[in-house]
Amino acid sequence: MNNIKAIDDYLFGNIAPGDSLLFEAKILLSTALNDDVQLQKDTHAVITQYGRQSIKAEVLAVQKKLSTEPQHSNFMQRIVNLFKK
């Protein structure tokens, strides 16, 4: 699987400090490896953003539930009332 796991182990600190230093040396010596490490960092940023969008959607669904379901109506109404002048 190419260098995917090795780069992940390096990025997440799952290797011994000595091996990490060795990996950094390899990055310095290889443009291709350096590019792959950067690409994998970008990929993890994409995963994080996907995760945030997903959790935000779940939070919005909860908010909608609290606003619309009868058993929660008193709770939300009390909060809405805080904003009435």
Partner: protein
């Protein structure tokens, strides 16, 4: 609360409902006092919950003793950051929310592509890297035969998404807005 108890959408829903009941009234009271609207209070609280969720699933999740106080603190900082221009004069205490904004936003185009054609992979990667679920939870959530096959699937998906990001990055400005 740890990531193990938040491994399914149902568990997270119960978790968020509990936090709404526990902390949203105090946050809303603060936003109202500051002259904000109900909609702004909702927006702020959504973001505060996201910040808290990421803290909870991180390895050091147990440091938050008082969830209500934590969420109120985050909400106050978010309010000052987003809606008040004079926030420069505020104390920097408890300003640990920057950790969620250290990455470049990805374009809707790439995200839409990944969320449709690669949804199964993105869900697996989210569970492993964002939700930081234990591999045993990943195995049962995604019906793998064992931890080995889950690990192989994780790296195959990471490779696939990395390749997609690479293709997109050939025109880098296209996906970093």
């Amino acid at each position: 609360m740890n990531s193990k108890t938040l491994s399914t959408a149902e568990m997270r829903e119960a978790f968020f409902i509990e936090l709404y009941k526990k902390a949203f009234p105090a946050v809303a009271r603060y936003i109202a006092k500051m002259g904000g609207s109900f909609e702004q209070a909702q927006d702020i609280f959504q973001d505060a919950l996201l910040v808290y969720y990421e803290k909870v699933v991180a390895a050091n999740a147990d440091v938050v003793v008082n969830e209500k106080a934590y969420l109120l603190g985050v909400a106050k900082n978010l309010w000052l950051q987003h809606y008040k221009m004079d926030s420069k004069n505020q104390s920097l205490d408890n300003m640990d929310i920057e950790e969620t904004t250290d990455q470049q936003p990805v374009s809707g185009k790439l995200m839409h592509y990944l969320a449709t054609t690669g949804k199964k992979c993105m869900e697996l990667l989210k569970a492993c890297y964002y939700d930081t679920l234990p591999l045993s939870d990943v195995v049962s959530l995604f019906n793998y035969s064992g931890t080995h096959s889950a690990t192989v699937a994780k790296y195959k998906c990471l490779e696939k998404v990395r390749e997609t990001v690479k293709q997109q990055s050939l025109s880098y400005a296209d996906f970093i807005e």
